[in-house]
């Protein structure tokens, strides 16, 4: 893959974010093209989540720039960036627990269609949105729990719901923060497969944070290793994971 001939979709230029003494992002730069799938690995506290949050706007950088298709978006709010196609799923549980699975995904379909202020329309008459929602639930194998409350479902379900909801935004680039953390072995592969199928089918760019190095090898042939807010290695997982400095930060520090 590594579509280097493709135009750059999203570019980070020397992004910096310090929390006091902690260098969560230390002048990191990255370019990613449409259809390009990168994995991001690193020990806990390496700065992976911070980097993704900088891209979505949930964290404001101390300095540096972010561009989408060449346009500067550094100052834009998360909701504006989401509309432009930068969508993230969460490492920790961030779901609308009191909603049904159907409503959870439908919320994002409505948002993507810009129907925020539609107050006087009965939601059941939004046939196009409701159809889209049903389709997404099918794609992510959620149709059977469509009417369950999200809070009553297991952790694995919530991860898939988060991912399906992100796809409802019709993203250009998907940022996926540890989609399988806290999920059992078997479920893990199922979730990854559902997600990767959709990423490929829609030719999306993606940055996936993942701890399971075997899984990382399957996901993409391009991985980045992060350590103390910096990218210390980049390349094919097979090559990168053999390098001494990578072994030291991933294994030597109780990865």
């Amino acid at each position: 893959m590594g579509n280097n001939q493709q135009p750059v979709l999203l570019a980070a230029e020397k992004l910096r974010k310090f929390y006091g003494e902690v260098r969560a992002a230390n002048d990191i730069s990255l370019e990613i093209a449409q259809g390009q799938v990168l994995t991001l690995v690193g020990a806990n506290g390496a700065g992976k989540s911070t980097f993704l949050n900088l891209l979505t706007g949930l964290v404001k950088p101390d300095r540096g720039e972010i561009r989408l298709l060449g346009k500067r978006i550094t100052g834009l709010a998360p909701e504006q960036r989401a509309k432009m196609g930068i969508v993230k799923t969460f490492q920790l549980e961030h779901v609308f627990g009191d909603m049904t699975v159907f409503d959870h995904v439908r919320t994002a379909c409505l948002s993507a269609a810009g129907k925020h202020y539609s107050m006087f329309k009965d939601i059941s008459t939004e046939t196009e949105i409701n159809g889209q929602t049903e389709q997404l639930l099918e794609l992510f194998d959620l149709a059977r729990v469509s009417q369950s409350l999200v809070k009553n479902l297991g952790h694995g379900f919530k991860k898939v719901i988060d991912i399906a909801t992100s796809f409802a935004m019709k993203p250009k680039i998907l940022l996926v923060d540890e989609p399988t953390s806290g999920v059992g072995e078997e479920e893990k592969y199922h979730i990854m497969e559902l997600m990767m199928n959709q990423i490929r089918a829609n030719n999306l760019a993606a940055i996936i944070v993942e701890h399971d190095l075997n899984l990382v090898k399957d996901l993409s042939n391009e991985t980045i290793v992060m350590h103390e807010g910096e990218f210390i290695a980049r390349g094919a997982p097979g090559d990168v994971f053999g390098q001494d400095k990578v072994v030291e930060v991933l294994v030597g520090r109780g990865f």
């Binding site: 969460f90 994002a108 202020y117 988060d162």
Partner: protein, 340 residues
């Protein structure tokens, strides 16, 4: 997932239990003035007019999980608009002017206040609501020349509609129609795309932002919807009481709508309606027998409800008592729609 009644039940769609219940209750409210004393009619009229502002509190709580103490500002605005234009500086008493005017003023004021009040949540939202209300109160209190200060403005004659002077009975029916219209409108709004996204905001703020929901703008609009309800009711309340005073702006007055919403039960769409009737009814009964104690009594009732049934309120208690009958009548509609 209890309320999936629409899709789950085999029933011809044109027979809607809820519609029947609405028609029956409306019919009762429509004929009741013919059978009761003037005093009771006025009391029912006040109950009806308490419903819209209570719905405002209910919307802000059930969708955004915030406690809205500032409804008295909008009741006050509506009431003083009526008192100035139809009373003190007699300009017009035409409801077709007063009601839209109050609506517009309420929307405008809610828009401006919402810019900063709706930036806060939880404790700070509640406190800011109270603080802003107190500012309005003291302004009205001090601008004696215009507002009559603590004396207020009394002797507000009945309004007219389409140029026809309304009697007390006419005012009752106008109150009924306005209240019913706003209830139906609120029901529509609660089942709209707008409301679903508000629930996302209170469900998980970060997730809501990350799927492109304009959090601040939508919160502000919810505040406007709540305020507009109170503003419209305020006009009719002024005529109903024949008097407007600065206490209309008092934060304790705003707190009454929070109490009414709690008493009714914020888990149910009919909660604000039940709450308005129970609150105003209790206020009347208790203040007749123990004039100095009624706020204490209401306070105790609210405390007992919060501790025992919480968000279920009186509606929940009644539902438990008459569970089967109500289930058949399909009145147990929850705040949130499930599925389609």
């Amino acid at each position: 997932m209890g309320a999936n009644t629409r899709t789950g039940r085999m029933m011809p769609s044109y027979i809607d239990d809820r519609l029947i219940a609405t028609i029956v209750l409306t019919a009762i409210a429509a004929v009741i003035p013919l059978f009761v004393s003037e005093y009771v009619r006025t009391l029912i009229q006040r109950c009806l007019l308490w419903i819209p502002p209570t719905f405002g509190v209910y919307i802000i709580y059930s969708l955004l999980r915030q406690v809205h103490f500032a409804q008295s500002i909008f009741i006050g605005l509506g009431s003083y608009i009526a008192a100035f234009l139809a009373g003190k500086y007699f300009v017009t008493s035409e409801l077709l002017i007063l009601l839209p005017l109050s609506l517009i003023v309420s929307i405008g004021v809610a828009y401006v206040l919402g810019i900063f009040i709706m930036r806060r949540t939880g404790f700070y939202f509640a406190i800011m609501g109270i603080a802003v209300t107190m500012a309005f109160w003291s302004l009205v209190y001090k601008m004696r020349q215009i507002t009559g200060g603590s004396d207020g403005i009394s002797d507000i004659k009945n309004p007219s509609l389409f140029g026809i002077q309304l009697g007390d009975q006419g005012l009752y029916y106008v109150s009924l129609v306005v209240s019913l219209g706003l209830i139906l409108l609120m029901r529509r709004i609660l089942h709209s795309p707008f409301s679903l996204q508000l629930r996302a905001i209170s469900g998980d703020l970060q997730k809501a932002e990350s799927i492109g929901i304009p959090v601040n703008g939508m919160r502000r609009l919810a505040f406007i919807v709540a305020g507009a309800n109170a503003g419209v009711a305020g006009v009719l309340l002024a005529f109903s009481y024949n008097y407007v005073g600065p206490t209309t702006f008092a934060w304790e007055f705003g707190a009454h709508f929070v109490q009414a919403a709690i008493i009714g039960g914020v888990n149910y769409f009919v909660g604000p309606i039940v709450g308005a009737f129970v609150f105003v009814g209790l206020e009347f009964l208790v203040s007749t027998w123990f004039p100095n104690l009624w706020e204490v009594v209401i306070g105790v009732i609210v405390a007992v409800i919060v501790v025992t049934v919480g968000e279920e309120g009186v509606t929940g208690i009644v539902k438990d008592l008459f569970g089967r009958t109500l289930k058949r009548a399909n009145l147990e509609e929850r705040t949130y729609s499930d599925g389609k």
